[in-house]
Subunit: 369 residues, 2 copies
């Protein structure tokens, strides 16, 4: 009998943070690809376009004029998913949840559960990273990225004063549904813990009560010892391809210290974060010599009125979910089997980490000069 | 204060079958779309292409020659995700699961859980629906679709004799990662219950023990009374947009009778299924006058060695997950907030059902003649 090799033989892995399984079938990378090829990137984003609502000085859909900002710029989303002052739905019996955070488990079997967002209405914001439309985070300087980190911490502080969950996320690239090339992210606050947050809450809570320490602290320590899934390490941070990664080049960004939320980061940790982000995103761009598309976002301990409770089982982290698989134009499709049965990946997390590790930390577009 | 209208005001809804929440923010349909537009469809698929490995008489990657089939045709996937005769991984402690169906809950907190598929190796198959490459299910005749239903039932019977889960799924359209226009689906068997199957198992089991009847039987009955989410009804079947639908025009196809698995369907139920599928898929194509992309698949009670256990809480059903939102080229992106926090939709399930209901049952491409 042949010996098991993860890179050759299928197996399933468990995601202890989100309580999900992934089917790993690395040999599938050998099959030919005759499916959809993504349109290649429009290379010519103008640095400033007065008709782009995210640019300094531009007029937005609601008639407001942007300031001539020269760093980051935060404003209210003109088309929010979580909209101000929505009245209460008068649908089916909706026990639990309307008072706040988690839906109550004893009602989880009702067939028509529906809840409004509570007033005051949760805000939804857009944050521009830079005044120029033709840069991306890896092409920004470390101090410029540090300003973004500070702006993230402030918005968590500001909205977290009132809302239990403040989701910062960036959709980068048209492939990720991003409709504006200007470097930006979004911030959606909510009066409830969203699904993924609830799963992470449950898992981290259970791990802490069983093992007496935060799941992600122990996991980070393990990965530092094992090394095979590490992509980058710095004084204060780790970047790794998690053992249970679903997207081909998915990574997890973790502080080494136990930090529950973004605003707790020290100045040194923020500088170091800016620097490791620049390196990671440069590697991403270098992988297929393209502006690498992804969705990313931050998860930290819940906020709002219960921020003072014991959330020590939480460890701050960011997830990067990039779709590309084989080249700048061939992506992984999460369809069929993935939607109906279980996530599936075509190369092992260890292979992905090795490829990312080997890539230079200088951006390909600069090296060519 | 304004009255709540689901079509105007955001709210969250619960999916009792898969234990997930969705954020409904219908007012978002009003925002302009400046993002990615999908390439329009290649209209000229040849009826027969000797180089297409799915065509009758063609030679496949492994050198095998397809028969000159004139109905459905089932063969082994040349690039299976679940590959034959994989040895056991020798990774971290992997308690539970290796003996079969569900991962044991007491080990769900381990950080490195990994399991091989047990030998004998789970097969992965491709099923062609028709000898011609230029047809799709809605353009096939009812007897031809009935033959597909019979082939589905047979493959569940055949593989279900050995494997606890046999996932039939169809990825239709390049947008859904389908790399071959020839009408076909796939069948992946596994020695474990995949993630989604486990969620449906838990929910249906819990509902049955609380209410003494299958969740989807009661749900179907409720929807027949409420009517607003119904798309099609026939003597033996229902098609509806579930209350908790995530994809814009997602539907659920349910038998009216309590049926646990595809092979249990009577001949009359199979004919009626072929007919209602043709109607549903015709409506889908008519919605944006395009060959409507989707992933679909069947879920029924687990099979394999425990097929004889009590699975009465299961009700057979098919899920249709189509990505299009606004037109033949503008899709819904499940990115950022959806990946990091919670699924979100832009029109209500009731609005989607209403639009689907209003569409003709004659295919637009035939009407034009
Ligand atoms: O097997 P195919 O059609 O080549 O591949 C397609 O379906 C699979 C099963 O849903 C997915 O894993 C792939 O990402 C997708 O491209
Ligand atoms: O808000 P945007 O950038 O217009 O829209 C994008 O991000 C949202 C949040 O992830 C998604 O719901 C949309 O499908 C996507 O197109």
């Amino acid at each position: 009998a042949t010996a098991f090799r993860a890179s050759e033989h299928q197996h399933i892995r468990y995601n202890p943070l989100q309580d999900e399984w992934v089917l790993v079938s690395a040999h599938r990378m050998k099959r030919p690809w005759q499916g959809q090829v993504e349109p290649s990137l429009l290379k010519t984003v103008p640095r400033h376009d007065p008709h782009n609502p995210l640019c300094p000085g531009a007029t937005r859909a609601n008639g407001e004029v942007n300031p001539h900002y020269d760093g980051t710029f935060l404003f209210d989303n003109d088309f929010p998913a979580l909209q101000p002052d929505a009245p209460n739905p008068d649908l089916e019996p909706r026990p639990g949840l309307s008072t706040g955070v988690a839906p109550c488990p004893q009602h989880s079997q009702a067939l028509y559960l529906c809840h409004p967002s509570l007033p005051p209405s949760p805000p939804s914001k857009v944050m521009c990273f830079h005044p120029w439309s033709d840069v991306t985070l890896p092409l920004m300087s470390v101090p410029e990225i540090r300003a973004v980190v500070d702006a993230w911490a402030s918005v968590i502080e500001e909205l977290g004063a009132q809302y239990p969950w403040v989701q910062i996320f960036e959709n980068k690239g048209a492939m990720m549904g991003c409709s504006n090339p200007h470097p930006h992210c979004q911030v959606w606050a909510s009066s409830f813990l969203p699904d993924v947050a609830q799963r992470e809450e449950r898992s981290q809570q259970a791990y802490q009560s069983q093992h007496g320490e935060p799941l992600l602290m122990e996991y980070g320590r393990q990965e530092l010892l094992r090394k095979e899934r590490l992509v980058l390490t710095s004084e204060h941070w780790l970047v790794l391809v998690p053992f249970w990664a679903v997207w081909p080049f998915q990574t997890l960004l973790l502080p080494r210290r136990h930090v529950r939320r973004l605003p707790e980061l020290t100045s040194a940790e923020r500088d170091d974060l800016a620097s490791i982000m620049k390196k990671l995103l440069t590697k991403y761009d270098n992988l297929f010599e393209t502006s690498f598309p992804y969705s990313m976002g931050w998860h930290g301990a819940p906020t709002g009125s219960e921020a003072g409770a014991n959330w020590d089982h939480w460890q701050l982290h960011a997830h990067y979910y990039p779709p590309l698989l084989r080249s700048a134009t061939v992506r992984k499709f999460m369809v069929g089997y993935e939607m109906l049965a279980q996530a599936q990946r075509d190369l092992t997390p260890e292979q992905a980490a090795e490829r990312l590790r080997a890539l230079p930390e200088v951006h390909y577009s600069l090296g060519q000069k």
